[in-house]
Amino acid sequence: MGLCENCKKAQATFHLMNITREGEKIERHLCERCAIEEGLVQAPKQNFSMEIIENFIESAKSSGPENQSDMLCDECGISYVEFRNQGLLGCPNDYDAFQDVLQPLIERAHDGATQHIGKTPSTLGVERTPQQEIRLLKRQLDEAVAAEDYERAAKLRDRIDTLEKS
């Protein structure tokens, strides 16, 4: 094991032997970074969530409207293309501004889900919409049935019925 012959700082982990037409043997010993810089190996994937984002972007390219590259958010000024390149949105308003093209990405990231259930900020006075409430109750109903808690299941079913009728 030796140091990278290029930067002489990192451990050489990439070893290449080339034989020229003249039959001369050329050995190279490089660290990963220098090998990537010289284009001898591909840079490793950054991380899992970047990979997911890249996947979405691919799917967004094929499914989004054709003029998506022109889309801008009035609030923060980010373009959809910029989001696509960095994987991060510019402001909360982007979720509405880019909704048409974001929605398929969101669905892919979250196993088809498009609606939040769970904690909501109480100070905002945000109340669940009846649809959200029903979804939540149905999930709880499934769990109650799975746990064979039929008393609770019956109560949940009644509440769902009431909400669905209203």
């Binding site: 899992f48 909360p92 769970g118 999930r139």
Partner: protein
Amino acid sequence: MKQPFDGLVRNDGEWLRGDGPMHEIVISTRIRLARNIAGFHFLSRADSEMRAEIAETVQAAVRKAGLLNDFTHVDVDQLEELERNLLVERQLVSRQHAEGIGARKVVFDENEASAVMINEEDHVRIQVMRSGLQLEQAWEQINAVDDALEARLEYAFHPQYGYLTACPTNLGTGIRVSVMLHLPALRLTNELERVGRAAKDLKLAVRGLFGEGTEAMGDFFQISNQITLGCEETAIIRAFHDGVIPEIVEYEKSARAALLDKRLYALDDKLFRAYGALQNARLMSTSEAMQYLSHVRMGLHIGRLKTVDLQTVNQLFIQTQPAHLQALEGQRLNGEQRSIARANLIRDRLSRN
């Protein structure tokens, strides 16, 4: 080394305390919530003025919330590199937060169980850490911190999408549950792909010790959820608690039992070689130390090694990390100097056992 870093180095920290339910295999439970403040841009579009304003706003809310006493407030952008790395090794901040740009902070409590990262990828990242498998307790605690902050901050919230995050992969609940597991026997028996399968079925990710993009060192693995939208926080937690974690713990236990039953000499050889190397080596890299300590930790738990105490081993896991080592030595060290200092520290600690 400035306060509070001097004290930190010598503490054990919550996540390596080595107790709590299933602690022999489950090192720690961590829950993180991603939140953003309404009326501000996300950080990629926030200029330095807005960043500073966000940092001030969130920090003020944390102070006023007064949930836990003795919070330490740290301006991450004012720290030296070594101090930032120390926080990463203690899992109080992410690598991304340590290496980020502009005004950013972290606030953590005395036993390092709760922390709030300000201006990481999102404006607010709350984290709660517990030893062993303590999902419900961690959820209760983080939920309380979140409630207290929410009473003083207006979070960006969308009726359909829930809590809005800079990256759509965290959207909805903004929750990331991570359970850190120690699985040396599954690695020795080449059965780690069982872990991968169990996790994949539930769309969970398996990562290394320091989270995203890191390698599994010393047989430590983090299991975390990927889906944050359309699933209640408590349902996500239950999937870990009732499903995947006990399942993987059973795999590891049966791998340990099989090694004891069928390959005792090979097992003992691994454990005692690891112990011998730790007692005698003169140069030791981080990954080498982690691997040997991992085997010794298992050896203690299955009763094959009796001459070391668990506390010492747990402490060594953290104190042999590069930034901790340099902090203990009180100076910056290059790679070789660190290997020497690490070997010396380990020999010294083990001889005092």
